[in-house]
């Protein structure tokens, strides 16, 4: 089993306050992990630390496979660009993606016919969906998703769960944070409250 | 000493006001830069010690106090 992520004794300090210490986690291919914890327990911070965005005040060692996708609270989309343009330039990291792939991804998230609509004209939920369409385009093995179920309706949540499971079956792994209890087969849970300092 | 009298040193042949005011301003500014953090440090140290004593007073009630 390939290991995609390993946290050894990871702690987080904000200012002089210790949020948590001694987090141990190994994520292997095919595993689906949910990070839970009360507000302010450091879920988002941990995820950002794993992605390499915020390493100030992080102790311990984090080994993360380089083939990684991070989706934070913010979708990373430009409201002046169309859905297609957004995905073309944003998801690609510079690699040309065929337009058919983009249209397919948009169709998967239920946005058929919106390909050339400027993002700013879509509703908040639809915009979230455009962001999630990245998951259908990504070739990364480890997905780090911060609150992916926020502002998504019931249909959308089911669709997203399916995609997460599919990714795990294909040899990837997912770590996501969520407040909602998620009933997915084979879900593993890491509760940050247990590590609170 | 170059000057003959205190008065001569103060007036400096007409330049006294400039020279002395420059020195006074400099030393006031620098003294402020020194005293301000020193006082703040002393205040902080006092607050920390007080907090320590408070905790030391509370601890025996909970059982197993230790001397600071």
């Amino acid at each position: 089993m390939t290991q995609l992520l390993k946290l050894q004794d990871v702690g987080l300090e904000r200012g002089v306050r210790q949020l948590f210490t001694g987090v141990q986690l190994e994520v292997a291919a095919g595993e689906l992990w949910q990070l839970v914890g009360s507000n302010g327990s450091g879920k988002t911070s941990l995820l950002r630390a794993v992605a390499g965005l915020a390493r100030l005040g992080v102790q311990g060692s984090i080994t993360c496979c380089p083939s990684m996708l991070f989706q934070g609270h913010l979708p990373g989309l430009k409201s002046a660009l169309t859905c297609r343009e957004n995905l073309l330039w944003h998801a690609s990291g510079g690699v040309a993606i065929p337009l058919s792939g983009i249209d397919h991804a948009l169709a998967e998230v239920g946005l058929v016919g919106y390909e050339d609509t400027v993002l700013g004209q879509l509703s908040a939920g639809q915009q979230r969906r455009v962001g999630l369409a990245r998951l259908w385009l990504s070739k990364a093995s480890l997905w780090l998703l911060d609150e992916p179920f926020t502002a998504i309706d019931v249909d959308g949540s089911a669709m997203l769960e399916q995609q997460l499971l599919r990714h795990c079956q294909n040899g990837g792994a997912v770590v996501f944070t969520s407040h909602q209890p998620t009933a997915v087969a084979g879900l593993r849970v890491l509760d940050l409250n247990q590590y609170a300092a | 000493m170059y000057f003959d009298s205190v008065n001569a040193a103060l007036t400096m042949e007409g330049h006294g006001a400039f020279v002395w005011s420059a020195y006074v301003i400099t030393f006031l500014v620098l003294a402020f830069m020194l005293v301000q953090p020193l006082l703040r440090g002393r205040r902080l140290a006092r607050a920390i010690r007080a907090e320590q004593r408070r905790q030391a007073a509370e601890l025996p009630a909970e059982g197993g106090g230790h001397a600071p």
Partner: protein, 227 residues
């Protein structure tokens, strides 16, 4: 497959340009600001053509500096607010490269446009005709410097709530050489002498900026993401 750097640069620049062109107000507003402030000077100083011509190089350059500060403060704002910055920081390419693309497109839409319309301001301020090409050239190079330095300040203040005035505090001291070289070039040209030395210095400054600014701004952006 590793896509090459130039293609990535092109991608990023295209993204910015397309986005900006859909909101032409962002391009036009600084120009209108420039026009209005230049109008204020004759109102304040009196309409004497000789006085204006004397002061014109300084006026145009100070106003160019201010309007550039005004715009470059928001250089990374939208990218920070919508999360694009996070994605760029995680992209396989150096963040400095994305920053460079962003600065270049920003310069194309602000500095280059300003340089192109600057003859109008020169005429308003009674500047002699022979100075106009030099004015344009100096603004072309100088606004590149201003965008580069502005990017550093913008990167360091992008995560802060009250970034605007702070940015000016950080950047104005750094832009002193640009102002001096720029006005000197124009003044030499107005007097009918060779402004080559000053333009060369502006060029050298932009080259130094091209090396330093993307690296410093990228570092600043990573810090802003941490905070």
């Amino acid at each position: 497959m590793q896509p090459d750097l130039l293609k990535f640069l092109g991608f990023q620049a295209q993204r910015h340009l397309r986005g900006a062109l859909r909101r032409p107000g962002d391009i036009v507003n600084p120009l209108v600001f420039f026009l209005m402030v230049v109008t204020l000077f004759p109102l304040g100083l009196g309409p004497d053509p000789d006085v204006l011509a004397d002061l014109a190089p300084g006026i145009v350059w100070v106003v160019a500096l201010l309007s550039s500060l005004l715009v470059s403060g928001r250089l990374f704002q939208s990218d920070f607010e919508d999360g694009t910055l996070e994605q760029l920081a995680l992209a396989p390419h150096p963040l400095a490269l994305s920053v460079l693309a962003e600065i270049a497109s920003h310069w194309l839409l602000s500095g280059v446009v300003l340089a192109l319309v600057s003859p109008v301001f020169a005429l308003m301020l009674n500047m002699p005709g022979q100075a106009i090409p030099v004015l344009m050239a100096s603004l072309l190079l100088g606004t590149l410097c201003l965008s580069l330095f502005g990017a550093i300040g913008a990167a360091l203040t992008v995560g802060l709530r009250r970034g605007g005035v702070l940015l000016s505090l950080l950047i104005i001291p750094l832009t002193v050489p640009v102002l001096i070289f720029g006005t000197s070039a124009v003044r030499e040209a107005v007097l009918g002498y060779d402004p080559g030395s000053w333009l060369a210095l502006l060029g050298a400054l932009s080259l130094v900026g091209l090396v330093v600014a993307p690296i410093a701004a990228a570092a600043g952006l990573r810090i802003s993401l941490e905070a």
